[in-house]
């Protein structure tokens, strides 16, 4: 999972070294997975619930990182896709009685389409202009969800209460533990897909568009298609995360998805490390736990403390946690 965006100029490594590195990666991922499987048996249900949210956020951050880190497009409105995913799952469960596990792929598909369609016109805008367009989407989303014409589906300001899924019988897991493993399975799947996407030809094309759009186009990369598709896939990831998060929280309401959520996701991506797959996990840990720590330290100004944390992270680790770990590793090797 330590793979990062391959710079275009990376010299081809000898086959032996490459295989060794790959083996190390696989071992690292295996250890991480074992740890992730043991963890919920060591802590209480409340912590398991928090970790489930971390897992859900990590999927959203990976999605946003594809867009921002790899493709260089800034989105300040990904909370909107998180909301669409969450509401899709909630409405399917609440109004159509669909089992929770079926709603996740549908939420992803809905967001893929929504993201792609929003991406088409918005992608004519570059950089900050795109950031503003997505910001508008993020700001508008809570009000759209409250709108009268959607009220019979969305439940208006009251939102929708979701029934918490029971763990399958015979496993001996609590509801929270089951939900954790369910979410973990999605994390593994989404990260595996993301890893394959970003490592190969598509990933290189995305990075090329970020770094040298003209050169990329000259090399035959269909820039606009790639950009809209990246937007769509990124929205898909965020939507899946939203659906998983809403099932864990058992409630969706417009106030759950304010612009602050979008900003939080951007913070997570940058803190975790731009253009880094593992960064999504570090970022998710940050956005889940640092506000709680800040609240513990000061009731009067929790967000000031949060700001101090953020500044400290950015000064000490300008390339995000993932970049910091990479540098540490390189030093240790020397």
């Amino acid at each position: 999972m330590e793979t990062t965006a391959a710079p275009l100029t990376m010299p081809a490594a000898p086959a032996g070294v490459d295989a060794a590195r790959r083996r190390r990666h696989l071992i690292g991922v295996a250890i991480l997975l074992v740890a992730a499987c043991v963890l919920p048996f060591l802590v209480g249900n409340y912590r398991v619930f928090q970790l489930t949210l971390v897992l859900a956020y990590s999927i959203a951050l990976l999605g946003l990182n594809m867009l921002t880190g790899y493709n260089g497009q800034i989105s300040l409105g990904h909370g909107a896709f998180y909301a669409i995913g969450a509401y899709t799952a909630a409405i399917l469960m609440d109004k159509f009685g669909m089992p929770y596990w079926m709603t996740i792929p549908i939420a992803g598909a809905v967001c893929l389409i929504a993201g792609f369609l929003f991406g088409l016109p918005a992608l004519r805008l570059e950089g900050l202009y795109l950031a503003l367009a997505t910001f508008a989407l993020g700001v508008a989303m809570p009000q759209i969800l409250k709108h009268k014409s959607l009220e019979q589906w969305t439940g208006g300001v009251q939102g929708i209460v979701i029934v918490k899924p029971e763990a399958p019988e015979g496993l001996g897991l609590s509801q929270d533990q089951w939900l954790y493993f369910f979410t973990l399975a999605w994390v593994v799947l989404m990260f595996f897909i993301g890893w394959n996407l970003l490592r190969g030809r598509i990933g290189r094309a995305m990075v090329a568009i970020r770094d040298q759009p003209v050169a990329a186009q000259a090399m035959g990369v269909n820039t606009s298609l790639y950009k809209s598709l990246t937007f769509g896939v990124s929205a898909l990831y965020t939507g899946v995360a939203g659906a998983l998060g809403s099932i864990a929280i058992q409630f969706v309401a417009p106030d759950s998805f304010t612009i602050f959520l979008s900003i939080t996701l951007v913070v997570g991506v940058v803190v975790g490390g731009l253009a880094s797959i593992s960064g999504a996990i570090y970022g998710a840990l940050f956005i889940q736990f640092v506000p709680n720590v800040a609240d513990q330290l000061s009731k009067a100004a929790p967000w000031a403390i949060y700001g101090v944390f953020l500044l400290a992270f950015m000064y000490l680790m300008p390339t995000g946690v993932a970049g910091f770990i990479r540098i540490l590793r390189a030093r240790l090797k020397r």
Partner: protein
């Protein structure tokens, strides 16, 4: 022979014990029983408050609660136990509320939740706390759905509910202006419909004829001018204004400027002088009617009221940074007093079941900061502590109480 003697002795002992139990307060009669979060030295309560985010102005309520329990603890606590209120920030964001409340219940293991604030945050945890059987007490929101003992036996609200408020306006109209032609403007969401239902229930069958026109607006609308014109056009002479502050100010202004000038009832949500009536124009607000159930710290008639002096002394000693003009601080004081009463009533049985039972057995409980004559009552089937209020009229500078206390619901 011996047997008989023993039996009678046992009987005597039992009756003596009974007699003692009857005389002494409950506190000493039974061995102490403790649920989660309670012990011989401590009672742990939890709450979420919007210390940050869009509703952070209400954060002062949580700060006052902490100051109040500090005072209680300084004076020896409740039946010798200190109250430890764990107050966490949820930023008025429902997912955060769920997370924080789960922490309070599963990690901190609080005995009960107290005054969690806001309708959306409380909606998010409603099912969870009832599933976990954690007392969810005196919520700081006016929605009527918190008083549903059948389906949610662990949740009990505090505020005068929106429906009760609507009912009070209706009752007053029936008595004082039975020939009124009523126009109603309401926000098209659960809150607006909640108040409207109260008005309609209160008017009853007679109401069908009294209401000549209804209009709604969306929170996203820029103004309510066209609605006011339409209501005016209906020929109504009475206007019930069920709006939130921004629209409340617009409606007050427009109803005056258009020359309509009806008997204007504005709901308590928009009764703030500073944020509604000043922007609308104080001269245009003269004669407005609203409902109140606790004393207004800015009302000169309570300037030397002993309860008000006590509250001010508390503010000066324990909560100096709080604003004594902010009615939220007075509201918070009343709710904390009610919580203390419930815990006192629990005696030495500090289980979650008993806390809930005592919350639902407030009997004619009076607090000096409530308006004169008001009492709180709850029962196993009545989860609405506040069901009485008095009307107030705006004089151009302040709200002035008038008329008698009006009750709703099952109360006398």
């Amino acid at each position: 022979m011996k047997n008989v003697f023993l039996r009678s002795l046992r009987g005597l002992a039992a009756s003596a014990a009974l007699a003692v139990a009857a005389i002494s307060p409950n506190v000493y009669a039974q061995a102490a029983k403790y649920g989660p979060g309670a012990s011989a030295t401590e009672i742990k309560l939890g709450q979420t408050m919007p210390y940050s985010g869009p509703a952070s102005a209400y954060g002062t309520i949580g700060k006052l609660h902490q100051a109040y329990f500090k005072m209680i603890n300084d004076n020896g606590g409740i039946n010798g136990r200190k109250v430890n209120l764990i107050s966490l920030d949820d930023g008025y964001s429902p997912p955060k509320t769920v997370e924080q409340v789960r922490r309070l219940v599963e990690q901190d293991e609080v005995l009960a939740l107290f005054q969690t604030l806001g309708t959306p945050p409380n909606s998010a945890i409603h099912k969870y706390v009832n599933g976990k059987k954690v007392p969810h007490l005196l919520l700081a929101t006016g929605a009527t759905k918190w008083g549903d003992p059948k389906n949610f036996p662990w949740t009990i609200g505090f505020n005068l509910s929106y429906q009760s408020e609507g009912e009070i306006y209706a009752k007053w109209l029936l008595k004082n202006k039975p020939a009124a032609k009523v126009a109603i403007l309401y926000q098209n969401d659960d809150y607006g419909k909640d108040v409207l239902k109260g008005v309609k229930d209160g008017l009853g069958t007679a109401g069908a004829k009294m209401i000549v026109k209804e209009a709604t607006y969306e929170v996203t609308d820029p103004t309510v001018d066209s609605q006011i014109i339409a209501l005016q056009g209906s020929g109504a002479d009475t206007f019930i204004n069920i709006t939130t502050p921004k629209f409340g100010a617009q409606a007050v202004r427009k109803a005056w400027d258009s020359g309509w000038k009806p008997l204007h009832i504005i709901n308590n949500v928009s009764a703030s002088v500073g944020s509604v009536l000043v922007p609308a124009g104080l001269d245009k607000s003269v004669g407005l009617i609203t409902v109140q159930y606790y004393k207004d710290p800015n009302d000169p008639q309570w300037k030397d009221d002993p309860a008000m002096l006590e509250w001010r002394a508390f503010m000066g000693r324990y909560y100096r940074e709080g604003d004594p003009k902010d009615a939220s601080n007075l509201y918070a004081y009343i709710t904390a007093q009610t919580m203390v009463q419930i815990l006192k009533q629990c005696g030495n049985d500090l289980t979650r079941e008993n806390v809930m039972r005592q919350s639902a057995s407030l009997k004619n409980f009076k607090l000096p900061l409530l308006l004169p004559g008001m009492m709180m009552n709850t029962s196993a089937t009545d989860f609405f502590p506040i069901q009485q209020a008095q009307l107030a009229k705006f004089t151009g500078t302040q709200w002035e109480l008038f008329g008698e206390t009006i009750s709703t619901g099952a109360q006398p």
